[in-house]
Symmetry: C2
């Protein structure tokens, strides 16, 4: 019997997100997956703005930007009344002022590549592939002992045949990206057939909608199993449809078609496999669906434009299940991602929710496993992510209802007037705009908790405790380079105190900074192991509002200008919200974005996931102290 | 005895640049290097704007942007007259309107990584490491037979000891980037000691300043060996010098110090190892230089600021040699990069010249080896690159003279007045501005040749035949995405005809386009093997000046809208010079940048290296035909 601090079951995006944090915190974790290789094609493909911001903080957003399709607008098509189709509207994304990213589209296979590379960059943690759990037991009596291993799991190593999913008929051969080639070969940690019993402190089930872990935990998966069958396919379309390289939808006489532009020349198409008037078709057997049925349905909806394809990378037929577990854990065993919630893939949120679930749980688990924070902070995983999953399901329902309503009208033989059609499109566009911040992940509705202090917001009127810190382009004081905050606020496991130091040319701001520097040093010492660097648990950064050229780094106190005997002064902690002559995007307006007075500033605490945990006046060291006392164990000298 | 189409000796940046083209054209080439591994640290580090543009066309500029330091300004420091130093000026780069890139700084080791990855992405060509040439012979009688192998080279495989350079005393252990780890292990194609005789059609000597190839060819290396000894080191400085994270220079009482900011927390320092009054020191032995001597010199010059370091990645002592070969080839054996020219590393041009040499020769060689073009086009390698090497040496001399003058004045005991100092700094700044376009590689002075037609420029007043095509941000017609021309004009081996189609909403422009489409199709057929796609030798792209939304892709003729039976329509060939609502950098002003009338447009031919080969009126198919007739062999039907 071997021991593991924690065991992650499933190495999709959510499992890899948890593993990312284990690597960052240096936790001796294991991660298994039943498939013999990583995923290469198909499945999820939509990355929302907030997920890309997180990827930036993890060091690989640029890889998505290089390879993916960037979506900034959506096209609507409808019948033109003369037997044809016409473009009836364009919905533009409106978030470009507040984030470096809009939605990007790229196959899940590449996202797994980037996550794997990020994990390998900082640790020796590697996915054990072709391994399944066979039994799971839990000793509740050990639950409250942090040193105990209450979980026992039996694992079995699968053969290549067992670990290889059935090929999908009609798909073309796969030509992997050069850096994915090594992963085509199946590798095993143990010999095939090996049965291993391991004990773990924590177990994280990231094993998808049909989660083995969830079944072992006897957690129900509640909700509706909608009967409408959809087809989804990633193809290289042969078509004269004018907007085939724009994300777009057609609401035609034969049904609804959703087209999502992808990397290279790929387009993903979502198509209902029945005519609208066959909405509830009990007799329809999903297993009888073929790729040609999808092809024919798209042809019919897209007519009079041509449609066909010879290259198909992936396809599936699915029935939308809108389901949610009533709880996300049983003791120290947690569920993450699709194991907790499923909804329609068409809203482009699945992979984002899964990754953000994994990231949300991962850093908290890391802090607990390192003995730095109380296990009670893990409760916020449920309070933050479960309510959000419910909101996503509501959002999905609202979107779905537009299509459903239309289908019902048709089913009932109602003639839908032009006016009604116009109203529905207007309603859809309105819903799009209303929901954009939510869909892009810019609002998350995290509630008050030990990790989120909801107090006065007067000093930073556009910041919300619990929400993400709005991204801005600011300049490094030492070298003047403009960086997005998403990049400089790295996902490296640390909390951050941001001293929005205001106009540091003023004597009163300088005095204030000096005074709080000493007090913050004392605060950091209380929570940082004495053998570690003072900024290893909580890092203090300053972002002032004076021009880079008018102050010097040496004007700043030691807390943001630490000295290392090997590496000299730290140049990464002082930043300026000012214009940059060679980058027009860098306008020096971050303070306005955050709603902070340029003269006197404010203080903000960011959690390791860059959500605002606390905010107060620049000099409110007492307040920030109280916040951290609620999270961290004081170190013993 | 084995045969090889061509043999590249040396796998530094210039050799890899040649190999890049061999991979693109699918040439069965070999590349050897005497070192047992790639380079990881030290050596060159400066990448000029034009080199980064080329990297963008090769698919990896984003990796440099992610890892490197971006230089946009330079700081000048001088004595303050009170025993200290003061910042006396800042020189800002001014090229940001005409290129996506300014200078970037990153170790040559990473550049080699990116080049190797690009080569591996399209071919199985791999560097044979730990291999040297032992003898070389050339049969001139075979020179004019394209099928002959006039070159015979004997190669020997070295042992690990032979192929490992001596360690540099005082440097810290190397922690490779994750993707460089595999390259730390020495691998051999053949057993150690194997002697192999190979015959080659062409030989490319990319083996540096001490080129073995150059010696075999008996080509002299002419020029001065300057006696001044410099030290160079890549360190993590421990200093309170305020501009340590800006590229900067100090002209202090004890000499000149040049500081180049680098990736991470590294700074490269160039320091003269003698006081100025010891300029010609015959007794000074370079082999006696130690890292501590460099440290002490920098300490002295940087005083009263502190300076020290504990981490040194690389260092060297060198004497500037300003040398040039009188010729770049002997028959089919060519020299490239430092084997042709050496100058001071301080001007930050070495790696750029070497890479651009290799790229310049490589595509021409590719076309010749594929039998598509006459070997006479190889003569333009000499006419284009040799004159430029001479200009770089002149530029180096001009820069060097500023320091030399100062040193001389001091040596002669002249008191340099404040006014004289001010004048010299002003002169240096003026020289910087004057030379910026040259130094950044935006002007190259390529002469008229079969590859460069110098005719009327009335239709594109800001374009110059022979020069690079100025980079602009334009939008794809099919999906509206903004792309820099440097990215969309890929270095894939093809010539390109750019139809700057003007305002295609106008009927006269539409008629003109239709007419030339058919004639250009005929032209392409003459030079494209019948079994290949029509755009495989020369690609036609259109860049029109109408807004994306006001025209449809289907408005364009077949030459820029090709149909493939497997992949459907080609969406990569029609572009619009218009504004983009989500990208403020994309202003729709490319026609103005190129000096082209927005209504009636122009036609431009770009060579595979994106230099302008020909330009004329939009309808001038006769002119463009004549240009290509001078380069390509007509294919036999």
């Amino acid at each position: 019997m071997t021991g593991s601090i924690d065991l992650i079951i499933g190495a999709g995006p959510s499992g890899l997100a948890v593993a990312y944090w284990m690597a960052q915190y240096g936790i001796n974790a294991r991660i298994i997956d039943k498939r013999g290789t990583k995923l290469f094609r198909g499945h999820a493909d939509g990355l929302r703005s907030r997920t890309l911001e997180l990827f930036d903080s993890m060091g690989f957003a640029h890889r998505v930007m290089e390879e993916g399709y960037h979506a900034a607008a959506f096209m609507f098509w409808r019948p033109d009344g003369k037997g044809g189709l016409q473009r009836t509207g364009q919905q533009q994304s409106s978030i470009h002022a507040s984030s470096p990213y809009r939605m990007a589209l790229l196959t899940q296979g590449r996202i797994e590549r980037f996550l794997l590379d990020a994990i390998r960059g900082t640790s020796s943690l590697d996915v054990e592939r072709g391994v399944i759990g066979e039994s799971l037991s839990y000793d509740e009596s050990l639950e409250n002992d942090p040193q105990a291993y209450p979980i026992t799991v039996q694992l079995r190593t699968l053969s290549e045949a067992e670990a290889t999913p059935a090929p999908i008929p009609g798909t073309c051969p796969y030509h992997p990206a050069p850096d994915d080639r090594d992963d085509l070969i199946q590798k095993r940690k143990h010999e095939v057939g090996t049965v291993e019993t391991i004990r773990a402190k924590y177990l994280i089930g990231c094993d998808g909608a049909h989660s083995w872990t969830r079944k072992q935990l006897n957690i129900p998966f509640e909700g509706s199993h909608l009967d409408h069958i959809w087809g989804v396919m990633d193809v290289v379309p042969i078509t004269d449809f004018p907007d085939i390289r724009w994300p777009s939808s057609i609401d035609g006489p034969h049904g609804h078609l959703l087209m999502i532009t992808r990397e290279g020349n790929i387009v993903r198409l979502y198509v209902p496999l029945q005519e609208d008037d066959e909405v509830v078709a009990d007799s329809f057997d999903r297993s009888t669906v073929t790729l040609d049925m999808l092809r024919e349905r798209v042809k019919k909806i897209m007519a009079p434009y041509d449609f066909d394809f010879k290259i198909c990378h992936w396809w599936a037929a699915y029935q939308v299940g809108r389901r949610l577990t009533p709880t996300v854990n049983k003791g120290r065993m947690y569920l993450v991602g699709d194991a907790v919630h499923t909804h329609s893939p068409k809203i482009g949120l699945g992979m984002n929710m899964s990754i953000q679930d994994g990231l949300n749980l991962g850093w908290k688990l890391g802090l607990v496993l390192k003995g730095m924070a109380s296990p009670s902070i893990l409760d916020t995983y449920a309070s933050e992510r479960h309510q959000l999953a419910q909101k996503v399901l509501d959002f999905d329902q609202r979107w779905g209802s537009f299509f459903l309503k239309k289908a019902k009208q048709k089913q009932q033989g109602l003639v839908v007037s032009q006016k009604e059609q116009d109203e529905m499109q207007a309603a859809m566009q309105e819903a799009f705009v209303e929901n954009e911040l939510f869909a892009e992940g810019h609002v998350a509705f995290y509630k008050a908790s030990p990790l989120v202090h909801k107090g006065s917001t007067a000093m930073a009127t556009h910041l919300v405790a619990g929400e993400r810190f709005p991204a801005a382009l600011i300049r490094n004081q030492a070298d003047g380079q403009p960086w997005w905050t998403t990049r400089l606020l790295k996902s490296d496991g640390r909390f951050r105190i941001l001293l929005l130091a205001g106009d540091v040319r003023r004597q009163d701001q300088q005095s204030c900074l000096s005074a709080i520097s000493d007090r913050l040093t004392e605060l950091l010492k209380r929570f940082t192991p004495p053998e570690q660097k003072l900024d290893s648990v909580i890092e203090v950064k300053a972002i002032h509002s004076a021009p880079v050229d008018e102050v010097e780094l040496s004007d700043f106190p030691p807390i943001v200008r630490q000295f290392d005997e090997n590496e000299g002064w730290d140049y990464s902690k002082v930043w300026s919200d000012s214009e940059c002559f060679w980058d027009q995007q860098c306008k020096g307006n971050a303070y306005e974005l955050w709603g902070v007075d340029r003269s006197k500033g404010a203080m903000v605490v960011l959690r390791p996931d860059q959500h605002v945990g606390w905010m107060g006046e620049l000099e409110d060291v007492a307040g920030v102290t109280e916040y951290f006392e609620g999270i961290f164990h004081e170190v013993k000298p």
